[in-house]
């Protein structure tokens, strides 16, 4: 691999080198590589896109295009915990929007964003599919039903 001119010479991403060598010489390997990168780092860092571009001789703009086309890929670091607040009809009727507003206020971020300390990511969702418990929020795999705005802080406090 040729050295790039940006001054980064030490491989900052050792797992990437393993991923790349696993797929060496393989056609159509870009998406599997991106999936493995995301599994390794939780997201796809810009510097990794540059490295993949050099290794595969694919323009970085093309890789970035693919990564932003598929919703499965994240281009920013994600928090240790993923918060989802249901905005489905049932939740909406029972005040889902107020729950979301409270979460936004508590964390200081909007859906699609991550807190600076990388503790939480807030994901935009339509319906979580557990309408019987409306309004619902999820943190990672845990479902918290019958939410009220004043319960939000204590729920979030359980996740470090």
């Amino acid at each position: 691999m040729s050295a790039c001119a940006c001054g980064n010479t030490a491989p900052k991403y050792p797992e990437l080198q393993e991923i790349l060598s696993r797929h060496e010489g393989e056609k159509g390997s870009l998406i599997p590589i991106l999936q493995e990168v995301q599994a390794a780092y939780g997201y796809i860092p810009e510097d990794v896109i540059k490295e993949i571009s050099l290794a595969l001789d694919i323009p970085a703009t093309t890789i970035y295009g693919v990564a932003t086309f598929y919703a499965q890929f994240h281009l920013k670091p994600r928090g240790r915990h993923v918060v989802r607040v249901c905005q489905g009809t049932a939740c909406h009727v029972r005040g889902g929007a107020r729950i979301l507003a409270e979460v936004e206020k508590e964390l200081g971020i909007k859906p699609g964003e991550t807190t600076e300390d990388l503790r939480f990511s807030l994901e935009p969702v339509a319906c979580l599919g557990c309408c019987g418990l409306a309004p619902v929020m999820m943190v990672d795999e845990d479902t918290h039903g019958r939410m009220t705005p004043d319960k939000v802080a204590s729920v979030l406090a359980r996740y470090e």
């Binding site: 790039c4 896109i49 571009s53 323009p59 970085a60 703009t61 093309t62 295009g65 932003t68 086309f69």
Partner: protein, 574 residues
């Protein structure tokens, strides 16, 4: 060549095997509207404006990507086809800002023309308009993503032809945008400012950054002595930008027009092109004597220079240290000429008329300040000059032919051919041959380096010593040459690289639209200008000779280095 026969609209039509339905129709004189298609780029089939009915096919097909085949029956003008095209267009218009009156491309916009031609008189769909801020970060170009119809022509131009890949699709569906890498501003990515994207953009979504207002202001300022230089390629293209035939030679009219705009002196970049040959020719001779680094690569094309800084920084020692003719002109105008006129450098305002958008970037390089102030103050493209002439109400075609002012307007045919691919090489060879051998050249025409082939090679006999040369234009072609140099497989001593297809006559600031025939017409005109000049060798330029005698001493002297040479900066490839 194998031919096939198909019927289009009931007419039997012959086509070459491998042609698309669109190409077969066009060859037969049948017009099919297109938008994302561009004859010099790989077809993408994105816009569906070119749909036709093909007998036996279940749905309409995009003719720009559909291969023509024997016995095919094509219908280009049925109610079904017309309705589908109009719907496709109306969907594009549904979220398009209707800003034609104030748009840079008003009157020369493919979207506007199609809306007119396809009979769109109302838009039945109302979409949410995009509201993305303009990107004015680049000194050369402005992007207005709200006017983008996602045809992808800029992406393909930047990738396929220029091998830069600064632009790409981002996101999906309604949110898709064409953006520089990582959503950055254009000035923050490895864009070489060539402006080729702006020449293929069918709309006003990518245009040159205009400095017309700055120039009007300087012209109106009594304290400024405003001089203008005109690049070689502009004399064969500003007429075209004003509706004359491609390849019209309008040198004298352009000079007259510039005087009427109020410039205090009308000078010529051909003068400083001759000066460039003196410096670069001697640089070559010196490197041949001292053994390197070879090959020497030309440095007049600022898009190429920036490309080298981003993508081949290890080859920068090969690039000539000569400033480009534009910058040499500015440096001389603000020192030698200013002193002669009893003016301070800051009171001389230098305007360039260039076929190029990268020249705008070059003029703003911090190192281009030989006199302490920028060598060049404002760079206008051929298109911007045409706009100024329209605004001033000048009847261009009716103007008399006038002469450039002395001394910085005196030039030779060697300076003129800088505007075509191979021209700098040829001009340099004319001078280097005579300087090295002490003999007079019998034929001045080095035809092997002329023409539109992507990479041209030749060997020249300098009295027993053979010099091997190569010429490339368009950066994807340049890449082929550079990779051979990098791999140590090349035995050239001198290489000319021009960033844009065809050289400067195909520059990013030239009249739109452009294609191979138009480039060929402009090139033909350039060589006609050369052939008609009484002097055709740079070292015979009397004004250049006087400049050396009175001011610079000799080529490559200390003074010449101080004013006329520069250095380069490695940049990131992302």
């Amino acid at each position: 060549m194998e031919t096939i026969t198909l019927t289009i609209d009931g007419r039997e039509v012959q086509a070459a095997k491998g042609m698309t339905v669109l190409e077969a129709a066009r060859a037969a004189g049948i017009k099919i509207p297109t938008l994302c298609y561009h004859p010099e780029l790989r077809p993408e089939g994105a816009c569906r404006l070119c749909v036709v009915e093909v007998k036996g096919a279940k749905s309409l097909v995009a003719s720009c990507v559909m291969p023509a085949s024997n016995g095919m029956e094509v219908y280009t003008n049925t109610p079904f086809v017309r309705e589908a095209r109009r719907t496709a267009l109306e969907l594009l218009l549904a979220n398009h800002p209707f800003e034609c009156l104030t748009c840079d491309r008003n009157g020369n916009c493919e979207l506007q023309t199609l809306a007119h031609d396809l009979g769109v008189r109302e838009v039945r769909y109302q979409g949410e308009k995009r509201n993305v801020p303009k990107d004015t970060s680049s000194p050369a170009l402005v992007r207005d993503p709200n006017k983008c119809i996602l045809c992808g022509r800029c992406v393909r131009m930047c990738g396929e032809v220029q091998n830069v890949n600064a632009l790409g699709y981002v996101g999906r569906g309604w949110d898709t945008l064409i953006l520089p890498l990582f959503n950055r501003n254009l000035a923050e990515v490895a864009c070489v400012a060539c402006g080729q994207c702006s020449t293929v953009c069918p709309t006003g979504a990518i245009t040159e950054k205009s400095y017309v207002d700055e120039v009007w202001k300087a012209l109106g300022d009594p304290k400024k002595h405003v001089v203008v230089q005109t690049a070689p390629a502009t004399r064969v293209s500003v007429g075209e930008a004003l509706g004359m035939a491609p390849g019209s030679i309008v040198t004298g009219k352009m000079v007259a027009a510039l005087r009427r705009l109020g410039f205090d002196r009308v000078f010529d970049t051909d003068f400083s092109a001759d000066l460039t040959i003196m410096e670069e020719g001697h640089e070559l001779i010196e490197r041949l004597k001292e053994g390197g680094p070879l090959p020497l690569i030309t440095s007049c094309s600022p898009g190429w220079v920036k490309y080298c800084e981003h993508f081949y920084p290890e080859l920068l020692p090969h690039v000539s240290t000569c400033k480009s003719p534009q910058q040499m002109f500015g440096a001389v105008a603000k020192t030698y000429y200013a002193e002669k006129m009893g003016l301070k450098p800051e009171d001389v305002y230098v305007v360039s008329i260039m076929p190029c958008t990268a020249k705008k970037f070059e003029a703003q390089r911090p190192e281009m300040t030989a006199s302490g102030v920028p060598d060049v103050d404002a760079v206008l493209t051929t298109r911007e000059l045409a706009r100024m002439l329209k605004e001033a109400g000048i009847d261009f075609e009716g103007l008399p032919e006038e002469e450039y002012d002395a001394p910085l307007g005196i030039s030779t045919g060697a300076g003129a051919i800088f505007g075509a691919t191979g021209g700098v090489m040829e001009a340099a060879l004319r001078t280097v041959y005579e300087v090295v051998t002490g003999k007079t050249l019998e034929s001045l025409d080095f035809t092997a380096v002329r023409g539109l082939d992507g990479v041209k090679e030749a060997s020249v006999d300098l009295d027993g010593k053979t010099v091997k040369v190569a010429v490339a234009h368009g950066l994807a072609n340049a890449k082929k040459v550079l990779d051979r140099i990098k791999a140590g497989e090349a035995d050239w001593q001198f290489v000319e690289i021009m960033c844009c297809p065809g050289g400067c006559i195909g520059g990013g600031g030239q009249p739109i639209p452009v294609d191979r025939e138009k480039r060929a017409a402009r090139i033909k005109a350039i060589y006609e200008v050369d052939a008609s000049m009484p002097l055709r060798k740079s070292h015979e330029n009397p004004a250049v000779q006087t400049l050396y005698k009175e001011y610079l001493g000799a080529p490559l002297s200390e003074k010449a280095h101080e004013l006329l040479h520069t250095h380069y900066t490695p940049r990131s490839r992302f």
